[in-house]
Symmetry: C2
Subunit: 198 residues, 2 copies
């Protein structure tokens, strides 16, 4: 069995989204033996900015889709950047949507089990000053869950900039708690992913 793993963080060291995805992957591998993982680092090896317009103009199906479709399960680790979607994840999605297999009533990914790990530097909970400022998570769930119809589960972590941005120091305890919760959730979702792909 094969897991397709996409990372959209532009950082390699200190990336919370990679850390959560590592946990999911660990549980996937533990549950399934020495299965294959296809890795796509769109944050550090991005789809060039000119690729999607070319694909649209040429009505070319991108070979990148075959990779995704060869997998039995998928894992997407995507941080919120500037209150919006990762430009690199959007570029990857735009490109894949040019493929007819990725649109319509029955896209080729329909029913494939998947986990989306979303990480936000700030805190966007109800009543917080940033409530309503996350414009990425909703979009990602629409695309993955409703357009591509993955059987999707979501792991979220917030306040990952605590400890990086000194202005957030007062939230240290809360951030530790949120991280611990996210890690527990990632472990559960990883274990579930391994059995869902059975």
């Amino acid at each position: 069995m094969t897991l397709y793993r996409l990372d959209a963080s532009i950082r390699v060291e200190g990336s919370h989204s990679r850390a959560l995805a590592d946990i999911v992957e660990e549980e996937w591998t533990a549950g399934r033996g020495d299965d294959t993982v296809i890795r796509r680092h769109v944050g550090t090896e991005p789809v060039p900015a000119t690729t999607w317009p070319l694909a649209v103009a040429a009505r070319m199906a991108p070979p990148e889709v075959d990779q995704l479709l060869s997998a039995d399960a998928a894992l997407f680790a995507v941080p919120l950047y500037n209150f919006g979607v990762s430009q690199h994840f959007k570029a990857w999605v735009d490109l894949l949507i040019t493929d007819p297999r990725m649109t319509g009533e029955e896209p080729a990914t329909a029913g494939t089990p998947a986990v989306l790990a979303v990480v936000r530097g700030g805190f966007y909970g109800a009543g917080s000053p940033r409530e309503g400022w996350d414009y990425a998570s909703g979009w990602m769930q629409r695309i993955l869950g409703e357009v591509w119809k993955f059987d999707l589960e979501v792991v979220e972590e917030e306040f990952t900039l605590v400890g990086v941005n000194p202005a957030l120091d007062e939230f240290k305890e809360m951030a530790v708690e949120l991280r611990a919760k996210a890690e527990v959730n990632a472990r559960e979702r990883g274990r579930a992913l391994a059995s869902r792909a059975a």
Copy 2:
């Protein structure tokens, strides 16, 4: 006086967002004589996908900001793509936000008059099947109006895929009406932009 105009459409011919921006620009020029227009075509000459991560890592202020700050007014023409933000507009925003002048309580763009022309291929009105599927317009208004504090006015057009996608043929009359309304609005906003920059 100088107008900064950004176009995010990946198309040159048949782009509705360019057409709306052309009207705004026409009124700007008519109102102000032979003023300068700085043009940035991020959809056809995109910021490379690797530029922003490099700027973040190097803490480099991008020279692109100087262009924007040299203008007295700004015009942003941005289509909705795949229910989300234009990847090229996001890449441009991400890059500019790395500049300290573009953040904080008093960003250098605060109070600068601006128009955002947003174009959507489908229809996202209340009660429609796509209500709630536009994840870009809200984000763009947050960034331009609240993060960068432009004095922002918005022109919107919907159903621009009518006539392109045969499945939407039944909405032809409605699309003609929506376009006419958007054009009137663009003309008014263009005239206002010329006087607001006075």
